[in-house]
């Protein structure tokens, strides 16, 4: 799980380089933290080694992030989170990670591959204003 620290730093660096808003960086950070934690925890039973690749792409008006792993197939878009808790007594203690991903990512797509899973997250984001635009 120490790799999550590398992921945190990668997201922070990405945000700085791409001039992403702090709110958007937080949403990306949270979604990647939840999903990669899940893959590490559940995707490689019995200590099987594996690889998780994360790629970033900027398109007009949106950020696209692909997570590829070679672990156990799992489709988070098919997972049905429990309803919101109404009492502390009845509240489940876990199972909130996928709910958070669906809440904070604008789109989530899963593709099962021969190797494992390919997950695509989309975050809507206007391009930062260029210096010339800001000075107009």
């Amino acid at each position: 799980m120490e790799q999550l620290r590398d992921l945190e730093h990668w997201v922070a660096q990405l945000g700085a380089e791409q001039l992403l808003s702090p709110v958007l960086v937080h949403h990306i950070d949270l979604c990647l933290t939840e999903l990669v934690s899940n893959v590490i925890h559940y995707g490689y039973p019995d200590g099987k080694p594996g690889t998780v690749r994360i790629r970033f792409r900027r398109e007009p008006e949106r950020i696209v992030i692909c997570i590829e792993d070679d672990g156990t197939p799992f489709d988070p878009t098919a997972y049905v989170p429990a309803g919101l808790p109404t009492s502390l007594t009845d509240a489940d203690t876990g199972g909130r990670g996928i709910r958070l991903v669906r809440h904070f990512a604008d789109e989530v797509h899963h593709l099962a591959s021969a190797a494992g899973n390919q997950l695509t997250l989309v975050f809507r984001s206007p391009r930062p204003a260029r210096a010339a635009d800001r000075g107009a």
Binding site: M1, L4, D29, L88, T89, A91, R99, L100
Partner: protein, 114 residues
Amino acid sequence: MEIAVHELEPGILGINLSGRMDVVGTQQIDLKFSVLTSTRRAQILVDLSNVTFIASIGIRTLIVSAKAQKLRGGSMVLYKPNDQVEEVLRATGIQAIIPIAHDLDAARGVFGAA
């Protein structure tokens, strides 16, 4: 993550958490937090003002302790989360089961009503 505890005022235990409450951070404080919040009846104010990030694993820790404290007849309030942390808490509906307060009077009100 770091954890510090003090008696905020008579009858109210203050627990200050600081850092990033993800898998790594939560593992660092989970045992001590659990012992502080679950082993005796108390009114507990969990100060989140220095928590910079919370993931589902951190929310789980808060719920487990709040449940244990409720079984003992006590109560827990989450105090002063920053905007990002509060946004995550509210996205999972936590405010409906563990009150969130942004000032001490509101927290005292929760404890008085519990």
